[in-house]
Symmetry: C2
Subunit: 175 residues, 2 copies
């Protein structure tokens, strides 16, 4: 099977990693994890920028606004704190995002039935329709950026990243 430095790795990407080793080789670094993690960010940044400019921009939706709407579409109405956590943003940020979504009639806030502190957020029918309209376009580009991956590689990628995600959650929660 393909190793980490097979011919499918573009020359300049391997060169970049060589440069890092050359410049920081005297530091006691675990380059294997360094390369794994740094490539997560490189890929995430590249894909996110691609998605924002090709799919989200014409819908006038920020990344976070779309994620929030997506979460509401899939998991239904919920309180702010869980919504923020699920969307990967803080409560303070969610307030701003919700303001935008409410102004455009894509989501709504309503008081909790019994707890005066809490707020229940819900997507409007318009908001849900927006997700259903955007997701196929979004997914086309997800398929596009993974076109050179075999089915097995896509599954491996998801699998390995789930492991990382679980570890981070554990570390952040317990120590």
């Amino acid at each position: 099977m393909a190793g980490p430095f097979s011919s499918t790795d573009r020359a300049d990407l391997r060169q970049a990693e060589h440069d890092v080793r050359r410049a920081l080789g005297q530091l006691p670094l675990d380059f294997r994890s360094l390369l794994a993690v740094s490539n997560i960010f490189r890929a995430a940044t590249a894909v996110r920028n691609h998605m924002e400019s090709t799919v989200l921009a014409k819908e006038r939706l920020s990344w976070s606004a779309f994620v929030v709407l997506f979460v509401l579409r899939v998991w239904g109405p919920q309180e702010s704190h869980s919504l923020a956590k699920e969307a990967g943003i803080t409560g303070g940020t969610l307030t701003g995002v919700m303001k935008s979504l409410e102004e455009r009639g894509l989501a709504r806030r309503q008081a909790h039935a019994t707890d005066g502190r809490r707020v229940v957020v819900n997507a409007t029918a318009t908001g849900r329709r927006a997700v259903d309209r955007i997701m196929p376009r979004f997914n086309e580009h997800e398929a596009l950026v993974t076109r050179d991956l075999s089915d097995a590689e896509s599954d491996q990628l998801a699998h390995i990243l789930r492991k990382v995600l679980r570890t981070v959650d554990e570390v952040d929660a317990r120590g």
Copy 2:
């Protein structure tokens, strides 16, 4: 070898994916690429937040400021446009980041020798020392978040993500 739904995938992560299928199953979506890509973002967001709060916050460095400094440390002085591209930010953003880095004496801008439009950015000795001081700490956490990955899995992860990165670059550049 481990499949995408092995016992190492935490139950709630698999549940989340099941929920997506249930809510959006009627849409014509390629769930394999959907899961692969969405896990890139989940992992990237989680790791980035972790790094910012555990390593970067005490150094009073934003993520982008550190990336810029890192790029300068490894690849040496260069012009703004290539530095911005390498750091994954736009030129407008880099101006703001550079302002912060210059105020703290970590980097410096100087006029290009022959081309009056261009600016050459360089890390100061202080800036380079900062990278060398922070990187080991940063790398400890890179190793931490990948502690449950085998060496082969870390290499696979980097390898697969390089493929994605290359594809995005090609798509954005050519069409």
